[in-house]
């Protein structure tokens, strides 16, 4: 059980999310001789510096070869080690998709994937380095737990949870700094359980990753500007999704907007829609994200603005959905 490294507000603003991953893993690796790190020439980019300082002999660089990384990790896991494999999310999900499917998920090995540079957080690198389909891909893989932390504190929690839970994990974190959502790691993080960031009864915004902070900003703004009570759920775990929180949101607010730095096809929005549809409950619904288009090149915040997944985009979407004509009676039976 890891636990030595404690973060504070200064860490959150002075070290990037991936560096917090590196520090968390360093804390884990020095306490467990079965933990190893593997990276495809991305030790620097995925911030393994602290791990290299404390345990260089258990960091393995496989060169620019994501497929090899997953095969090597699967073999190590089969032999009893716990590999943490960090690479760019575009390539861990797509270049090595078959290895992720067969070596990691089909074999159901105890291997952890830290997929960095998620969504459009490496915006200036262009679409080759944007990961806007990885949640659709990973969510469809049996046995795989998929987590999208919203900030550094949540990344630390997710990494520790992955270490303490048998089975494959895919943890998707951004390049660079995330806006700080939490004040510490003690907010009750639990895999598969959404965190309510803001209470509300008029509409629910369900967000993940960098969009969670934007959703909270939007809720605060709308409360002051429009008097709206916007519930905000940080759906950090995409699989297994928190069905209970989604259905409760449908019942309580009957209006839902999902927000993600990912394609609207196959990601968080699709996961929420699947739960709603199978529950048989009608709901006004809008999915914010990449609308079946490759993203433009630019800074992450500029792309988020352009795509409409920043605070302004969420505010506009909430106002639009609040104006939708939606049946408000209490009789659900006629909506099956």
């Amino acid at each position: 059980m890891a636990g030595g490294f404690v973060y504070n507000a200064v860490d959150q603003t002075s070290i990037s999310t991936a560096e917090i991953y590196g520090k968390t893993l360093a804390d884990i690796i020095i306490n467990d001789p079965k933990v190893v790190a593997i990276t495809p020439d991305l030790a620097k980019s995925t911030k393994l510096g602290d791990v290299l300082k404390v345990c260089p002999e258990r960091v393995f660089n496989v060169g620019i070869a994501e497929q090899d990384m997953f095969g090597v990790g699967a073999g190590m896991a089969r032999a009893g080690l716990i590999p943490f494999m960090s690479g760019f999310s575009a390539f861990t999900s797509m270049r090595a998709c078959d290895q992720l499917h067969t070596d990691i998920c089909y074999q159901n090995v105890n291997a952890k994937i830290i997929a960095t540079h998620a969504g459009t957080s490496f915006g200036q690198a262009g679409s080759t380095h944007h990961a806007i389909t990885d949640l659709a891909i990973t969510r469809a893989m049996p046995n795989l737990t998929v987590i999208v932390p919203a900030d550094g504190y949540e990344t630390a929690n997710a990494v520790k949870a992955a270490y303490n839970t048998e089975g494959p994990f895919y943890i998707r974190i951004n390049r660079g700094f995330d806006r700080v959502l939490y004040s510490d790691t003690d907010y009750g993080f639990e895999v598969g359980k959404a965190v309510e960031l803001h209470e509300g009864t008029d509409i629910t915004v369900i967000a993940c990753g960098s969009c969670a902070f934007q959703a909270l900003q939007a809720a605060n703004f709308l409360e002051n500007a429009d008097g709206l009570k916007v519930r905000v759920l940080n759906m950090h775990t995409i699989k297994p999704i928190d069905k209970e929180a989604i259905i409760k949101a449908v019942m309580d607010t009957r209006r839902i907007i999902t927000v993600e730095d990912h394609s609207v096809i196959g990601g968080l929005g699709s996961a929420v829609a699947e739960v709603m549809a199978q529950a048989g409950k009608g709901c006004a619904f809008k999915m914010l994200g990449h609308q079946d288009k490759f993203a433009p090149i630019g800074l992450h915040e500029d792309i988020m603005s352009e795509v409409g997944i920043d605070t302004n985009g969420i505010v506009a979407a909430v106002r639009e959905v609040m104006n939708m004509d939606f049946e408000e009676d209490d009789n659900w039976d006629d909506e099956f």
Binding site: D68, G71, G75, A77, R78, A79, D103, Y106, Q107
Partner: protein
Amino acid sequence: MPLSKKEWLALEKKAFELRKLTIQTTVWAGSGHLGGGMSVLDLLTVLYHKYLNIKVDDPKWEDRDRFILSKGHAAIAYAPVLCDKGFNDVESLKTFNLSGSKMGMHLDSNKVIGVDASTGSLGHGASIAAGTALAARVLGKDYLTYIVTGDGELGEGSNWEGFMTINHYNLSNCIVFIDRNHCMIDGPTEEVMKLEPLADKMKAFGFNTICVDGNNIGELCEAIDAAIERSKEPCAPTCILMDTKKGAGVKTMEGDYLWHYGAIDDALFEKFNKELEEDYKARCARAEKEGK
């Protein structure tokens, strides 16, 4: 330990029995990847009956040697080897390929006892083997990892990523075999996609490369002994490039790429077994002549 004549003859007998069981399994299954199963069967026989340090009653023993069948479609031969060895019931071969069976045409390591990696999608074994071999170093264990790829399979670029890692980390505790049976689904390898000069390629990738007749148990064992000797210290890994025949042991099939996958009717079953008997006699004569 060098192969004695007596041991060679015993291995030939086991290989003969396993070939018969493989043909029988193909009949039970309705069809199968018979050609590539037979080409690699001599290797499977010598590994499971001479070299692998494994415990049938403790299949997950953490110090066991690992074997990874990267050419997973050869399961039609691998499953009989595992069942005959005692990991699984031989009766279960009657369900091979059938609905509800734990044995599909590619074996699932979480369902079939004794299988170290789920393969079938080609080009995965080398990296997995690199991982188990690296893990031995991390854990301070001296088990060996054996991995066999097909030759057509080498078209998958991921093999070469795995080979680079095996070489880079001096994983001499990982012994790579290539089943060079010269055939792919659509034809001879050199017509579909050139592999030659394959030995030079492996050498260029840093492997101590030994070329043998992969359907000659004597040659195979000699090469494996040499590879094991090198495995004691981290150094350039060994690749045993096995020149084999698709369908080895059954003259009708030998070298015919069309036998990548097929079914056997009663007449063929009888013919194949007869040819197998003749081949076995010739193999025994060779062992008698060349064995020591």
